[in-house]
Amino acid sequence: MPPSLPFIRLVHRNLRKYRFKIGLSITIAILVLSLISQYIAPYPREGLGYVPVGEENRRLLHPSPQHLFGTDTLGRDLFSRVIMASRSAIIQAFSVVFLSLIIGLIVGVLAAYFKGLVELVLNYLTELFMAIPSIVIALFFRLTLEAGFHVVIISLVTTWWAWYARITYVYAKGVVELDYVVLAKLSGLSSAKIIMRHVVGVIIQPILVQAISDLGSALLEASGINFMGLGLPPGYPDWGVILYEGISEMGIMAFTRTPWLVFYPGLFILLTTLGFTLLADPLREDLDPRLRRRWKLWF
């Protein structure tokens, strides 16, 4: 019995695709890891950033059975740090995309539904926030607020919502002129109900798929901000921060003398992003008939 919600149906339809399965497994693995990492990490306190006792003898150890990924510049077990950082990655990626999606959806639909001045103002705001690089917002917050998740999340959301507002606006614009929406208006249905049921309900699928594939970009951008040292405080278990510590404290020679410091956190970013992309791609193909078309060339 196939489920009834269109989006769940869409996922259901794609479950047997190879790429989707890989993407789903990676995503679930990272999600599970983010939940259980603090229980399975061999050195959970070091994973959180505490410098161990007797660190002088433990600095920059090569990977070994005792320290699977080696140790970092302060003698902390890199394996514990890297797997415990999966939580911060999940928190950042999901909250950025979720918040941007909500704000963008509201702004985009309102701009398309209420024409005139509302449309003009909201579109101007969208254009304005699209034009600001998120690193700029991060800079402002870094100068004035304590380091932490809120810096990364707010600075990404400030610019990201505009993209969702734009795509929502484009999709919604095509729907609000359709006969059934006009008829719903004529029959006296309230604007809120029309928007929720007949506009958002119709256009939500491609936007959700976009959101899933954006989880990866959100993670990449958040890692970039953390890597610049603008977001989370030093020592926090986060892949960007770990890379920053690995590269900035060791200087350029980090890659040559202690490659594991750089290699493993980046590998985890890569895998997680890849998981989100593989998850979203089959869904996108399914929704977009142009990508599904069978190609037969004229020559």
Binding site: I132, L139, L297, W298
Partner: protein, 343 residues
């Protein structure tokens, strides 16, 4: 007349409005984020001179005036490039920013001169062989490459370069070499300067040092351009005019070069422009922390460490203006090539 002046006019007006909005937004952030704006503008001064510095900052920002006057003044200062002296470098802020911009721009332009043609070629080639082994290989590779953090990729490239050739790409040019050959940067684009002065040793050195970071940065635009052009070409090949041309017996190469390529250029320009502005931040991260090049990234980090708030804010504002400028130019170019664009 392929493009209406009306469209260009509207586009420019919108961009100016957005620029002004950004400046106002930055100013409001400056005023309403915690802390005294005058103290921030003066760069958190300490010691006996602090009071004087803060007084000066207060006067510079005009904090005793009504808010709209302050904002108007600030906008005026931004456009005249008069944002005061940098505390850390002791030179005008505009000079610091300009030197950073040329360095980062050199890297970016180099990367894009590499990336766009290559991406276009890959896209067209795989569209013509859709479903082949080459196509699926390029597809998978682009997905994996797009999932890599650019700075990580940069680090890997540096590692490979070091372990295979023993050459570590660090900085923009070897200063020892530059000093011994009397290299004298005029425009700030080192590659250009070295060529003009006929200083081939420095040119080669700068080239060797720019290629690794440029490779790391170009991965993203290569992927984007390849993906977009592949879809576009595959769609264009199904169009009626291609079938007609085939029926007329036009040669395959002519069809691709003259008909198909022409039709996909405008959207490729647009997507490259979008990718370009996105890559600026990428470049800032890669050049400063991974490859130790001077540029916007190093200025940003420096200004943060030294609490040089003026440079930070100026950087933020000019970066955004540059963003908008590139977008506007790309839109206008696209409109003048593609007659369908109308607002």
């Amino acid at each position: 007349m392929p493009v209406s002046l009306n469209y260009i006019f509207k586009r420019i007006i919108l961009s100016i409005l957005v620029v002004i909005g950004v400046i106002v937004f930055s100013y409001i952030l400056l005023l309403y984020t915690p802390g005294d704006p005058a103290v921030k503008w003066a760069g958190n001064p300490r010691g006996p001179e602090a009071r004087k510095a803060i007084e000066m900052a207060r006067r510079e920002l005009g904090l005793d005036q009504p808010i709209h006057v302050q904002i108007a003044q600030f906008i005026y200062h931004v456009f005249t490039g008069n944002l005061g002296l940098s505390i850390a470098y002791k030179v005008p802020v505009s000079q610091v920013i300009t030197s950073g911009f040329t360095a980062t721009l050199e890297l970016l332009v180099f990367a894009y001169l590499l990336a766009v043609p290559l991406g276009l070629w890959l896209g067209i080639y795989s569209a013509l062989r859709r479903g082949s082994r080459f196509d699926s290989f390029i597809q998978s590779l682009s997905v994996v490459l797009a999932s890599m953090p650019t700075f990580w990729l940069g680090a890997i490239i540096a590692l490979i370069s070091y372990s295979t050739t023993g050459f570590l790409p660090y900085g923009r040019v070897s200063y020892k070499l530059a000093a011994s050959t009397g290299f004298n940067p005029i425009t700030g684009f080192y590659l250009l300067d070295a060529l003009i002065q006929g200083n081939y040793a420095v040119f080669l050195d700068a080239l060797l040092r720019i290629i690794p970071p440029a490779l790391a940065i170009s991965v993203y635009p290569i992927g984007v351009v390849a993906r977009v052009s592949r879809t576009l070409v595959a769609e264009a090949l199904l169009e009626d005019y291609v079938r007609t041309a085939v029926a007329w017996g036009v040669r395959r190469n002519t069809i691709i070069k003259h008909f198909v390529l022409k039709s996909i250029i405008p959207p490729v320009i647009q997507i490259s422009g979008l990718a370009f502005v996105y890559s600026i931040v990428d470049a800032m991260v890669v050049e400063s922390l991974v490859f130790g090049r001077e540029g916007l990234g190093s200025i940003l980090l420096d200004s943060l460490h030294k609490a040089d708030f003026r440079v930070t804010i100026a950087l933020a504002i000019y970066l955004t203006i540059f963003y908008i400028l590139v977008n506007t130019i790309v839109d206008i170019i696209q409109a003048s090539i593609d007659p369908r664009v109308k607002i």
